[in-house]
Subunit: 332 residues, 2 copies
DNA sequence: TTTCGTAATGACAACGTTATCTAATCCCGA
DNA sequence: TCGGGATTAGATAACGTTGTCATTACGAAA
């Protein structure tokens, strides 16, 4: 900037004004400065600018999600990017891989880089450690899962309601042996979805058989194993509710392996690519991850603008998409 | 930092030394400083640190890909993250959406934030505009597509060879009417894959019928339309080579719509989720996007360390995965 | 005892920018 | 002709940190 000022024959501050499009510089000088800037390959340094500026905004967000290559979370990422882009905000993205330690490391890494906000999926049992960061002015928004022990803005799917819809849909076909396959209790969404399953079963006055409940499906292969075990047991289910997209994929494989894809009903939570091209096409309760991302970003901007806003939890509703696998009747 | 120094009763410089784990500070003072730091909720400011430090490294990369929620590119992202994580580097990720203007905007946005390297998929016709950035010390690595008019490190799949393998595989089943469905010439990978298709056809002394070549499939729905047109034409193909994952998905739908999925052979370029669960399972030439990402990040680090390295193009090989759809014989 | 080398600490300037304040210039009306 | 307000430009300090150099203290060698 000093060099540009020298070449244009003006003061440093004038160059700063031109670069920041501040009013009060004559057109003559503006063009002189711009010519000098391009001649010298000048590129504005946002990090230095931020250091000095009074609002101390870096126009940067940090995003901490389960896995950047997971289709659900990458769609959330995409939604955030759409909103951030309009405001000139760049987004750091990182995967936690269900590791509490990594969650904390990432928060520190982003905080040290002075991001304006962190949008994250909590993994650590308890988020009270973030109070420290918030005191420093960092904005925190949670997506997909609500934080625990920490009051903050949050965007989630109506997990319990969606799971209830899915289960009720299977019960409405006349199924009584409806299995639940999901992840374990440490994952809040898995819990919520189990709750919805419970509610639907209770509403239909159908008792839950513990042997039809599997809560150990952490990955697609694990889900396949769990479903195979259910199918091979003495009293197999006639319908399955798979509580997450990777689990649904695993369930599809298991059903195919046993040749039961046309006889055992299946409804999955969260849509996935090619679900409509499978045979049978898979009925799902679809989330709207892109919308979740957009809302989270909007919440972050709103809070940056007014830090004293009351915290709010936004619920994005899910919708049942009937495709075939969920409409298979019992006893076929 | 000033406050920490005051509380610990030492100079600012000593705090800096402790924070950076520089040698030559007595254990006594180290613990005093650390106590003061945690008492004051002190958080090191990497942006200010970077401004002053002589190497001017921000430990930050920028990633510019087609779409963060595209499964191929999000896997590339993941690979980059794996390598970057080990070195404490945070990654900005953004989607260009095939927009040349946005590519340039993103380069500027990252450059202004003083990233150490940009890893990108080129969209603009011509990358010579980047010379400006490189003069400023920015490291540039290309992934998936080679840059044009600009010599730089690059990691690509063996597009032509993979496409040749795919096409030759179909020809080996006895097919003669092998269609090509791909994106247009502005996309270098689409070009390379068409080249491979041409080579395989030439090797088998099979002439290419222009009416079986479609190069207008930009999206999944477009691919479906193109394939339907091919199937409905007077002289339909008995086999299809789909030159990209989204196109393959579109082709699967089209074949299903016409009930031809078991009679027309299909090989796709690039694997996709659930390809093995479809009926028939889809034969593909699989790329290794995660490995592409890892290599790109490694190249970036190598060049940061030694800017005078000769530029290199790394080719990651693809592999044919036989699953069924590609092994359908002609005339069924 | 003096001198010297070494280790630990601190003072100060500087990184590239912007906020604040002051100075110069101009235009207009009285 | 002059005053006064508006407009434009510049000088200077500061943002939070680290590089450089100077200073201090201490023990060992002469």
């Amino acid at each position: 900037m000093r060099d540009v000022a020298a070449l244009a024959g003006v003061s440093l501050k004038t160059v700063s004004r031109v670069v920041n499009r501040e009013p009060g510089v004559s057109g003559d000088l503006i063009s002189k400065v711009e010519r000098a800037a391009s001649q010298l390959d000048y590129r504005h340094d946002l990090t230095a600018s931020n250091l000095r500026r009074s609002d101390r905004k870096t126009s940067t967000f940090g995003l901490i999600i389960e896995d950047v290559s997971n289709p659900f979370f990458s769609a959330v990422h995409r939604g955030i990017e759409e909103v951030a882009r309009e405001r000139g905000v760049a987004v750091f993205a990182a995967s936690v891989d269900e590791s509490p330690e990594r969650e904390k490391d990432l928060v520190v890494a982003f905080s040290q880089r002075r991001v304006d906000a962190i949008i994250m999926t909590p993994t650590v049992r308890e988020q009270s450690y973030l109070a420290y960061e918030r005191r420093g002015g960092l904005v925190l928004v949670f997506v997909d899962r609500e934080p625990r022990g920490f009051d903050a803005d949050c965007v989630v799917t109506d997990n319990a309601a969606g799971a209830e819809t899915a289960t009720a849909h299977l019960l409405a076909q006349g199924h009584e042996l409806v299995a639940f396959v999901g992840d374990d209790e440490t994952i809040t969404t898995a819990n919520q979805r189990y709750l919805g399953y419970e509610r639907a079963m209770a509403s239909a006055a159908t008792s839950i058989r513990p042997e039809l409940v599997s809560r150990e499906a952490h990955t697609t292969p694990a889900a396949t194993r769990e479903v195979l075990a259910l199918l091979d047991a003495p009293n197999p289910p006639t319908a399955i509710f798979a509580a997450q997209n990777l689990i649904t994929m695993g369930a599809v494989r298991a059903l195919q392996m046993r040749g039961l894809q046309h006889s055992v009903a299946l409804v999955g939570f969260d849509d996935f690519s090619m679900a409509d091209a499978l045979d049978p096409a898979v009925t799902v309760v679809a989330q709207d991850p892109r919308e979740i991302g957009r809302r989270a970003a909007q919440l972050a901007f709103a809070r940056i603008e007014d830090p004293d806003l009351p915290t709010s939890v936004h619920v994005v509703s899910s919708s049942l998409i009937r495709r075939g696998s969920g409409e298979i009747p019992p006893g076929r």
